[in-house]
């Protein structure tokens, strides 16, 4: 194996902000005071916050040191399954920072914000086209809010038909956000068991679908990295009982330009701009979770919506059946600018993105399946799921493999998800990685499997290279310390 990228480096300690600084220092140049002081009623005034006073260089060193304790996509390969940690092109950041966008007040008259309205309108149009559905709202702030929008649309649709329903079918492979979003809408989640091949069987859906079930939430491709082959038959069963089909599009990166979700029978789908459309994840957000719908559900989309009129683009509230507002304004606009910039940079080549994402995942699957147990040995989509079954005899677990990868300079895959696979290791390389990087990752995974045989303590004691070693999460939860 070639030399690994993982190594020790100079890691600097850094105290808390409030352990630094001195009274009266500031990293901010206050605007000149050109008016007199005015009094506030004494019963309302307080002493102001107890923040530390820091100089600019203290603030810069503090956050620069903190940043070096982090691993990002810009640091190296980040094969975190289900999260699509692809490279985030820097031109997107430039576009979002344009003063016309970043300095825009959301409540100016529409003739003064045509650029933003046009961008939203076109982005919604492009997203609908990629999904194969008819209309989109980019208002949801993240995937989970996109799901919530979808479930609110389900509830509103059935209510509109005068027959509210109380249940929703959710496969056991679903993201945890699915049942949580459904519960917010008052739906009782009914679990559907995955078939032996890792995909849903129409018969299992048929057995559970009834007149009180609003529909089904399917993640497709599913969280095992497999395409739900029977999606059309399942949609037919649901539609026959006047139910609706929701697809969690978190895994859209596998099928752009390939799958037409409208033809597949899907009625509602959400997309994660911070996954498929390359906007950076920011250490946990902000994201954006547009919700896409078929024609007959369009009246229920969140409002306001951007409409095109003879006088230009405008915001319209005139959607009496709308589920309403999900965001104070129009959603995470700055994220939309980045995704729009990405889509226009790629154009029809978005299909190449999916092809390469899928090729990379299948390549890893083939090259590792002799050393890591592969529970479903069939062509995968953009991610593949292994388990720690072959390592059990040595007392080594998925967690140990993940932590050892850190020492070798890789971000670990998603672990212990999906829940239906015991000891899951879920690898999503994305299209961004070169063959050399992928080969290096494969060689590293193989070496770790070998270490598990020969010297399991290397894995048990990992990681050794980062700023901190394994954390005591039990004490953190028993005696929570949530502020300094």
């Amino acid at each position: 194996m070639k030399e690994t990228v993982g190594t020790r480096g100079l890691i600097l300690n850094e105290p808390f902000l409030w352990e630094r600084g001195g009274k009266g220092r500031t990293g901010y140049s206050l605007p000149r005071r050109d008016v007199a002081a005015a009094a506030l009623p004494e019963n309302l005034t307080g002493d102001g916050p107890d923040f530390p006073d820091l100089s600019e260089v203290e603030v810069v060193r503090h956050y620069t040191r903190l940043s070096t304790w982090n691993y990002g996509v810009d640091s190296g390969m980040y094969p975190l399954g289900s999260c699509t940690m692809k490279y985030n092109p820097k031109t997107n950041e430039r576009q979002a920072a344009l003063t016309g966008f970043s300095g825009a007040h959301p409540l100016v008259p529409s003739e003064l914000c045509q650029g933003a309205l046009q961008l939203i309108y076109e982005l919604e149009h492009y997203l609908a086209h990629v999904a194969g559905l008819d209309a989109v709202s980019v208002q949801p702030s993240a995937g989970a809010q996109g799901e919530l929008a979808g479930m609110l649309i389900f509830a509103a649709y059935h209510r509109d038909r005068g027959k509210p329903r109380s249940k929703i079918l959710i496969p056991d492979t679903a993201h945890g956000t699915n049942p949580a979003s459904a519960a917010l809408c008052g739906f009782k989640a009914v679990p559907v068991e995955t078939g032996p091949d890792g995909v849903l069987l129409p018969a299992s859906v048929e057995a559970l679908m009834d007149d009180d079930t609003a529909g089904i939430m399917v993640t497709n491709p599913n969280t095992l990295g497999l395409f739900e082959t029977h999606i059309q038959a399942i949609a037919d069963i649901i539609h026959a009982k006047d139910g609706l089909v929701y697809a969690d599009g978190a895994n859209m990166n596998a099928v752009m330009g390939v799958v037409d979700f409208g033809r597949a029978g899907v009625d509602v789908l959400h997309i994660n701009l911070h996954k498929t459309f390359s906007t950076p994840h920011g250490g946990g957000g902000p994201g954006s979770g547009p919700v896409c719908v078929c024609k007959r559900l369009e009246p229920f989309l969140p409002a306001p919506r951007v409409v095109k009129t003879e006088a230009g683009y405008a915001l319209s509230e005139d959607f009496p059946k709308s589920i309403g507002k999900l965001h104070a304004f129009y959603g995470n606009f700055g994220i939309m600018v980045r995704a729009y910039s990405y889509m226009l940079s790629m154009g029809p080549k978005l299909k190449d993105v999916s092809q390469h994402a899928v090729l990379n995942a299948n390549y890893i699957k083939e090259k590792l399946k002799d050393v890591y147990h592969l529970p479903f040995d069939r062509p995968c989509m953009h991610e593949c799921v292994f388990t720690d079954k072959f390592l059990e005899a040595r007392g080594v677990t998925t967690l140990d493999v993940a932590k050892r990868l850190i020492d070798y300079g890789f971000h670990p895959p998603t672990i212990y998800f999906p829940l239906v696979v015991h000891g899951a290791i879920m690898i999503e390389p994305t299209e961004s990685e070169s063959l050399e990087n992928i080969d290096q990752f494969i060689a590293t995974m193989r070496r770790i499997a070998q270490e598990a045989e020969e010297d399991p303590t290397l894995l048990k004691e990992a990681p050794q290279n980062p700023k901190v070693r394994r954390m005591d999460e039990t004490t953190a939860a028993r005696k929570p310390c949530l502020r300094g």
Partner: protein, 430 residues
């Protein structure tokens, strides 16, 4: 690679997808070079009115504040920008300590015990606070919300409550521009009450009295805000016995960006920590006893508790929380207080100047950096004319409160100079 996976071509990779689900067309999206993209985006951005060249006197939930370069610069560190949620703490300590510090500074600003790692925005934070009050209240099924809570936040609350069995009672406002809480004792099964301060009229609510009235009904006292800078000079809501304090943090170093991404701030008393929505960062030690941080109390969250989770939120506004932390650090306690005073004093200057010019300020309560002005009949045309002169003279209130025709909500931050204000006064007089 194709050989290794045993496929003749790239299309073969999709053999598990039935043909009937496949698309037959090519994606119809233009493809631009970086050069062309820059031109295209510059053209779109050029059709926007930006705060840079207009004199904006508009707030209403989105505030123009100067963002120190140090915040913008540090926030572009790609180790922060391109990382995922810190599920692997060993290589996420930067995000984790940064968010732990953010939680701490938010607690100090609001006088609260615990703050979460962020929610989407102020509107969603209020909705989550009310749902949390319902969880705490167990069998109680009603919440009350002040009609002076930002109207957009109220709309989002309505969306979140629409599919539930819970009801919302809207509380009227009084002549002085604050919330009328006198009817609380008439409401049955009251789980929680939300007021905003400074409220949508810019008026500062008497939170101490509100807290007493709400607690007298054994309900959860929620206070929210859209302008957290106010707490640089106002009493912290925590000191006034608030149970949950939440709102929008865009003012804390985050660009206005046509309304998003912003920052949903959420803080509560310690006793409610297990009912909080969203992520929490906690301090602990590693295998060598060294200080470090992890995501904790995760059993509240959707990935573990699924349909019984305290919220469905997963991705939050982490990078915006980092920005807020950097901003609060750059200003420091002294700077934050001074900046807050400056906002207040400038707004008072404009208020006094407009009053001296004969205009009416209908709500008598004290304000921070926003206030309502009643202009003479027919001012709407003048307001349009001022746009031509690159002055946005406030937000018309009639869209939110039909009874307030000719009333405008004006906002003055540190970015408006005395000259700007004098010019506005001159214009509205003529």
């Amino acid at each position: 690679m194709l050989q290794a996976v045993g496929m003749p071509d790239l299309d073969g990779l999709f053999s598990t997808i039935p043909d009937a689900c496949k698309r037959t067309d090519t994606l119809d999206i233009p493809e631009l070079t970086e050069w062309e993209l820059n031109d295209h985006m510059a053209a779109l951005a050029g059709q926007m009115v930006s705060s840079a060249d207009y004199k904006m006197f508009a707030g209403a939930g989105s505030y123009q504040h100067y963002i120190p370069e140090v915040t913008r610069y540090l926030l572009s560190r790609s180790e922060f920008v391109t990382a995922y949620t810190p599920y692997q703490p060993e290589i996420s300590q930067g995000t984790l300590q940064g968010i732990f510090e953010y939680q701490t500074l938010i607690c100090r600003l609001l006088g609260m015990d615990v703050a979460n790692a962020s929610l989407y925005d102020g509107a969603m934070a209020v909705a989550e606070a009310l749902l949390m009050a319902i969880r705490i209240g167990r069998r109680k099924k009603t919440v009350a919300v002040s009609s002076l809570v930002n109207p957009y936040y109220r709309k989002v609350v309505e969306t979140y409550f629409a599919p539930t069995e819970f009801t919302i009672t809207w509380l009227p406002y009084r002549k002085d521009g604050t919330t009328d809480l006198s009817g609380l004792d008439q409401i049955e099964g009251l789980a929680g009450v939300a007021v905003q301060s400074p409220n949508f009229f810019g008026c500062i609510e008497d939170l101490e009295a509100a807290g007493k009235a709400i607690h007298a009904q054994d309900a959860i006292f929620i206070t929210c805000f859209s302008e957290p800078l106010a707490y640089g000079v106002l009493k912290a809501p925590g000191a006034l016995d608030a149970d949950i304090v939440c709102g929008e943090g865009q003012s804390l170093g985050i660009p206005q960006s046509f309304g998003g991404p912003g920052l949903g701030i959420f803080a509560a008393k310690q006793q409610y920590v297990r009912n909080l929505p969203g992520r929490l960062v906690g301090q602990t030690v590693d295998a060598d006893g060294k200080r470090g941080f992890v995501l904790t109390l995760s059993t509240r969250e959707q990935h573990i508790r699924r349909e019984k989770a305290t919220s469905n939120i997963c991705s939050n506004q982490s990078l915006c929380a980092m920005a807020a932390g950097m901003y609060m650090a750059a200003l420091g306690g002294t700077g934050f207080r001074e900046l807050a005073s400056l906002n207040h004093d400038k707004a008072e200057y404009l208020k006094a100047a407009l009053q001296a010019a004969g205009l009416e300020v209908p709500f008598a309560s004290a304000t921070f950096n926003e206030f309502v002005v009643k202009f003479p009949e027919g001012f709407d045309q003048r307001w349009q004319d001022l746009l031509q002169k690159k002055i946005l003279a406030g937000i018309p209130m009639v869209c939110y409160y039909p009874e307030l025709a000719n009333h405008y909500l004006l906002c003055v931050t540190e970015t408006r100079s005395k000259d700007d204000m004098d010019a506005l006064v001159k214009e509205v007089q003529s």
